[in-house]
């Protein structure tokens, strides 16, 4: 027992020491918003100097792109006045349901974020929160005519139409296709010819079967067509009085088209592959087309179509190392083209919100500066878009952009996106879209993989949603 005692004393002593060491960290975190705390969690903070006397701006986000963007913001000399005073502390949570819960509960509590971001699935929900500041509260003035209107409507309060959040990007959806496969099977890699081969769903299926005969998969996973179909429903999942509405014709068409493709062997994986390893695998080889959009182009497919990164473990998202990899001949880089596809749609987007707390704790200045830098100021918006290939939320900026994109074999993706952005329809969105999104994913798997009947699968969506949306009628 003596040995045990010694070991335990050691453990407890260690625990005590640890508690002392972290005690100061805790104090700092609780007073972080007031500034003056000796810094903790240095890896999270972004800023020029490492001095501890900067005011912390608490940022909550669902994407690691935010950190990259804030790095760009901080690196710009023009923002020196802000970066000298403030330090951004980013917390990232990529699971949507957890992220929503975290943001909503933190907003209501003491430790509210100053700046927080939202995906399309829950941007409406964040806009409705009591603690969300309107862009007017933040002192940001915009000319509404300068924007793609849907990016503004998306985050307007339902009751009075107050504009709550701004987006730096518009996200019209397109179809990305492999030019080499197009040439091999369709005889032409010209966007016009490819568009003709998939201008509606019947032609899409027909092309898919041709691809299959040549050993090429048309799509990678079962959920590939989801966004395109779901955006073209004739109404949102919930009406204003919270009654459930399902455009059964469209959902049926979506399920049946996917099933037809799956049965014909045109789908590489019999699972929902979006945001999974198998999604990325498919981008490298063997799949004809992906339903993507603006941010998808530079954020998702470009880095994941490369193959020579694979052998190397320290592929750290380290910019210098990665830059060299982006060249034609690496994986499927340079073998892609863009067309509108069977129907116009949009996919996601990133909206920036300030909280009422930032108005009180003196960080409003920084929040305003960041939002203006990416979402209002034409020059910096344009610079960011040129750097990444993303597509801006302002048509005026979009007009100025053009590219000779070597990823796309020289095609100018801005031309396609400008066209696509005109047709975006957001009439089908509700604040609970995250829940419905999950329900549709599950129903699709039940129908195609687990053999549930079509009627049951459609009813499943309602049942599943009703479990968590208790107001639904």
């Amino acid at each position: 027992m003596n040995k045990l005692k010694r070991v335990l004393c050691g453990t407890l002593a260690l625990a005590m020491a640890a508690s002392m060491m972290t005690a100061c960290g805790d104090d700092a975190s609780s007073t972080a918003s007031n500034g003056g705390g000796t810094a903790s969690g240095g890896s999270d903070s972004t800023g020029g100097g490492a001095s501890g006397d900067k005011t912390k701006v608490k940022v909550m986000t669902f994407t690691d792109e935010t950190q990259t963007m804030l790095d760009i913001f901080c690196a710009d000399e023009a923002n020196k006045a802000i970066t000298d005073k403030y330090e951004f502390e980013v917390s990232l949570e990529s699971t949507a349901s957890t992220y929503i819960q975290n943001v909503l509960s933190d907003l209501a509590g003491d430790n509210a974020p100053d700046l927080f971001l939202a995906d399309a699935d829950y941007a409406k929900q964040f806009a409705e929160q009591e603690q969300t500041a309107s862009i007017a509260d933040l002192g940001i003035t915009i000319n509404e005519d300068d924007y793609y209107k849907y990016t503004l409507d998306f985050t307007s309060r339902q009751s009075d139409g107050t504009r709550m959040g701004l987006s730096h990007q518009a996200a019209p959806g397109v179809v990305l296709y492999r030019t080499d496969y197009a040439e091999q099977v369709l005889g032409s890699k010209d966007p016009a010819d490819v568009q003709a081969a998939m201008s509606d769903w019947d032609k899409f299926v027909e092309t898919a079967k041709k691809m299959q005969e040549n050993g090429i998969f048309m799509i990678n996973g079962l959920d590939e067509l989801k966004r395109c179909f779901m955006n073209n429903r004739d109404g949102a999942w919930l009406k204003d009085d919270m009654t459930y509405y399902c455009d059964e014709a469209t959902v049926t068409k979506f399920f049946e088209t996917t099933k037809e493709l799956a049965d014909a062997g045109c789908v590489q994986y019999m699972e929902n592959t979006q945001w999974t390893t198998n999604w990325y695998n498919g981008m490298q080889d063997g799949v004809f087309c992906f339903f993507g959009c603006t941010w998808y182009l530079h954020y998702t497919i470009k880095p994941n179509c490369l193959t020579t990164k694979t052998g190397d473990v320290d592929a750290d998202g380290n910019a210098t190392a990665a830059d060299a990899d982006y060249k034609v001949g690496n994986g499927s880089y340079g073998l892609w083209g863009i067309v509108q596809g069977p129907a116009p749609y949009f996919w996601g987007g990133t909206w920036w919100f300030g909280s009422k707390k930032c108005l009180e704790d003196g960080t409003a200045e920084a929040v305003k500066a960041v939002i203006e830098y990416f979402c209002v100021n034409d020059d910096s918006m344009k610079a960011y878009m040129e750097k990444t290939g993303d597509f801006p939320s302002k048509p005026g900026v979009a007009e100025q952009l053009s590219s000779n994109n070597d990823f796309l074999g020289g095609q100018d993706h801005y031309a396609i996106f400008r066209e696509a952005a005109k047709n975006v329809n957001t009439k089908t969105t509700t604040m609970y879209d995250d829940t419905f999104n999950t329900a549709v994913n599950d129903a699709l798997i039940e129908y195609i993989v687990n053999g549930m009947s079509l009627d049951d699968a459609i009813a499943y969506i309602k049942d599943k949603a009703a479990e968590t949306i208790t107001d639904m009628k």
Binding site: D64, Y280, D316
Partner: protein
């Protein structure tokens, strides 16, 4: 000791052969179970040393081995430190494991100290004082051992929200004061280890009731408290559900939460690094266990652990 075998020694000749066959069978089963217990951890450590490429092509290798050499894809490779470096420094993953260990030690250590000390205090109160509600209250403690704790998890979290106790360690440390099974164990322990005469002697010397407990009783209870401390430490270290609902800021999160993110991070396809993270989270527990295994096994045998 159960010695019901002795009488059989002088029976027939085939008897020894049968015992031998039985012995061989028992050892084979035990060795198989040993492999089953260890293999997952071995694969975990070996895979932590492989690059993503090696893991993603493991089937190809695996298949080749079936005809060629059998275990090659199970053997370690040389990317162990590269995986470790990536896991610990990657900004994209953002998993501060060093900080996580500190947080886990703080929470588990704090909860362990409180639970062991206050359980001893409570058990002592029941053992030594004959107050009116002694029996019914002790029966109550026995009964609440059986209440499933997760039933209250939602309203507990709601309470913490109302108190603004998110991103705070108190919700995991303070409730440890009330640990019914530890009280039960220590109460049993006292009935054999503690003599009332000693308490009486302390009183005659003029020590206060609290002083008697702290200076005379606690040292005697140490072995029993140590056993309970081990289990409290492990249980609190492994706790996931509550911290995952209440801790937001990455730098406050515990090891199980960071491990869970290895899975949740949809941007990550670095499987070598994932195995490394799992190894990292398991290693301290294995060391802790192997050092204290004698006491842990003895503690389990005493029925001190419930779950």
């Amino acid at each position: 000791m159960a010695n019901y075998g002795q009488a059989g020694q002088s029976i027939k000749g085939g008897y020894h052969a049968r015992i031998l066959a039985m012995k061989v069978f028992v050892y084979i089963v035990c060795i198989l179970l040993t492999i089953m217990a260890i293999l997952p951890f071995v694969i975990m450590v070996f895979n932590a040393s492989k690059s993503r490429y090696e893991i993603n092509n493991s089937y190809v290798e695996w298949n080749r081995e079936i005809t060629d050499r059998f275990v090659v894809s199970l053997l370690p490779s040389k990317s162990f430190f590269a995986n470790g470096k990536y896991l610990l420094t990657s900004k994209a993953l953002n998993l501060p494991f060093g900080r996580g260990f500190l947080n886990s030690i703080l929470i588990a250590g704090g909860a362990t100290l409180l639970s062991v000390y206050f359980s001893a205090l409570t058990a002592y109160g029941f053992a030594v004082y004959r107050f009116k509600l002694n029996k019914p209250l002790y029966a109550f403690i026995m009964a609440i051992q059986m209440v499933p704790t997760q039933v209250t998890v939602i309203s507990f979290v709601e309470l913490m929200y109302k108190w603004h106790w998110t991103d705070n360690y108190l919700p995991f440390i303070l409730p440890a004061i009330a640990a019914p099974s530890t009280v039960f164990f220590l109460r049993q322990y006292m009935s054999s280890a503690l003599s009332i005469e000693m308490v009486e002697a302390g009183r005659i010397d003029g020590a206060s009731e609290f002083g008697i407990f702290n200076r005379l009783v606690l040292p005697i209870l140490k072995p029993g408290m140590a056993t309970m401390a081990i289990f409290a430490m492990v249980t609190n270290w492994n706790n996931y559900l509550l911290p995952s609902l209440l801790l937001r800021r990455t730098e406050l999160q515990t090891v199980p939460m960071l491990v869970a993110k290895l899975n949740g991070n949809k941007y990550s396809t670095e499987y070598g690094a994932i195995y490394f993270g799992l190894t990292l989270s398991a290693a301290p527990l294995v060391v802790f266990y192997l050092i204290l295994s004698k006491y842990i096994i003895a503690g389990v045998a005493l029925g001190g652990v419930k779950e």
